[in-house]
């Protein structure tokens, strides 16, 4: 008798932003806002405009889902944690709303949701991803500048761009090891 075991498929998610294809149309920002009912005055994903002396191209900016996330380290209740697949989420039931995570994020990715009484941020549309879909921003992107990569999948082409060094994280000197990677320059 042979036993069939169902091995859980392991993922290691990352986001790849191809700045060569991004035109800064903000369709991703709109899709995110609609999908996640982001409150007025706050954002989970936005486009940082090109600035002189800084970025020369529009940058899609949201939670970096860092491997060494300061928000995870400082959260006193462990409401904020990093899943095994790399997505950093907030357990709304455990959060006391101390806002230390908002203070701790060097990428400024979090906001305080006054109505809910707790912080919030991009969660890579974790419910969609768990259902086999793409995050709203990725699905919407007209120029196909965004991609959800799975570093645990050796056949994933976007993961290959990360592994080859073609896609790089922003501000690695902060030491947080982000999971959002940018393809820059040609």
């Amino acid at each position: 008798m042979s036993a069939t075991t169902k091995t859980a498929v392991r993922h290691q998610y990352a986001l790849v932003v191809d700045t060569n294809k991004c035109i800064g149309c903000e369709a991703c920002s709109v899709a995110c806002r609609v999908e996640n009912d982001v409150p007025d005055g706050h954002w989970r994903s936005r486009i940082m405009p090109p600035t002189s002396g800084g970025a020369k191209v529009p940058l899609k900016w949201s939670c970096m889902h860092c491997a060494d996330a300061p928000c995870v380290r400082v959260c006193p209740t462990k409401a904020t944690y990093r899943r095994a697949d790399g997505i950093v989420v907030i357990d709304a039931a455990k959060c006391v709303g101390c806002k230390y995570c908002i203070v701790a994020c060097p990428y400024g990715a979090r906001y305080f949701d006054e109505k809910k009484g707790i912080p919030d941020k991009c969660d890579l549309c974790v419910d969609r991803v768990d259902a086999g879909l793409e995050p709203a921003c990725v699905q919407t992107c007209v120029g196909r500048a965004l991609a959800l990569a799975d570093l645990a999948d050796p056949k994933d082409k976007n993961a290959a761009r990360i592994r080859s060094g073609e896609a790089i994280p922003l501000h690695p000197e902060l030491g947080t090891r982000p999971s959002v990677y940018y393809v820059v320059g040609k």
């Binding site: 600035t51 020369k56 709303g97």
Partner: protein, 300 residues
């Protein structure tokens, strides 16, 4: 910076309460008899830190809606906020017990229910002093550590910040204890030498000035840090920084103590102590307001 006035006041009151305990312990080394300052410092500490902690709880987004969640705060050993939760949970009752162990009986109506607790506290007086001292030091230092751990605000990511907060806590606690001691003594028409603490306090304040300037100087090293320092020293926050924190809180009190020694006029010394308190509160506000985020705009 998402933390506002509740946090600024908590930082001030937590530090003051811790400093009041440490001042009380310092005063207790003068002799076996419990003096006015020893009593005043010990009495202040518990209620002041408790009130500050109440402000913290009010600041929590879920603190009033679902207060039972507060138990979760004890869980993350890696979080400075969890350390603080434990420290405050222990310090507040210990500070109250320490006060009970060295103060006289309250009126008959209040003393009866607490008499058994007071008996235990008096017997454990020596141990209470040690534990209260350790917890007071921890309270004074951990808030600076809490602010310095995240990488997001270069102005705050300095080991000098916990040092500055410790010195400020000692100084504000001492001022509060001295002023309360003076008021108490006046009501009892007893003698009170405002000047006796001057030398210690001047020494503290001078150290605090040195650390403050070291912190500001080193803080300017990075771009965001430089922006923060500019805000403080020559920008929108400069008037409060120079007038209230530096002059009112530090330089002024030193001059006041010197003037009191020369003239014997206690009003000048009292003005100096009030300055220390105002400067301590302003410092906490400014630390939060001046912090510029490390990524003011993204760069590749």
């Amino acid at each position: 910076m998402v933390w506002g006035w509740q946090i600024a006041w908590y930082l001030f009151l937590g530090g003051l309460g811790a400093g009041a305990t440490l001042t009380s312990l310092l005063a207790s080394r003068a002799g076996p008899r419990v003096g006015t300052i020893e009593r005043a410092g010990a009495t202040l500490a518990g209620p002041v830190v408790a009130f500050g902690t109440a402000l913290l709880i009010f600041d929590l987004g879920m603190g009033r809606r679902e207060p039972w969640r507060l138990v979760y705060l004890y869980l993350n050993w890696e979080s400075p906020m969890t350390w603080g939760t434990w420290i405050l949970t222990l310090f507040i009752p210990i500070a109250l017990l320490h006060a009970l162990s060295i103060t006289g009986p309250l009126g008959p109506r209040w003393e009866r229910p607490i008499a058994p607790v007071r008996r235990v506290a008096v017997r454990a007086r020596g141990a209470l002093k040690v534990v209260a001292g350790v917890l007071a030091l921890s309270t004074a230092i951990y808030t600076g550590v809490l602010l310095s751990v995240p990488p997001s605000f270069p102005l705050l990511s300095s080991w000098l910040l916990p040092m500055l907060f410790l010195l400020s806590a000692l100084s504000t606690g001492m001022s509060a204890a001295v002023v309360s001691g003076y008021v108490l003594a006046r009501r009892q028409r007893a003698e009170f030498d405002l000047h006796r603490w001057s030398r210690i306090h001047i020494g503290l304040v001078v150290m605090e000035l040195v650390v403050l300037f070291a912190w500001v100087t080193l803080g300017a090293a990075s771009p965001a840090g430089g922006d923060s320092v500019q805000l403080l020293t020559s920008g929108a926050l400069a008037p409060v920084f120079w007038v209230v924190v530096v002059f009112g809180g530090l330089v002024g009190p030193v001059l006041a103590h010197v003037a009191t020694a020369a003239s014997g006029n206690s009003r000048v010394a009292l003005a100096g102590e009030a300055g220390v308190l105002a400067g301590g509160l302003a410092l906490r506000y400014l630390v939060l307001l001046a912090a510029v985020p490390v990524l003011v705009g993204p760069a590749l």
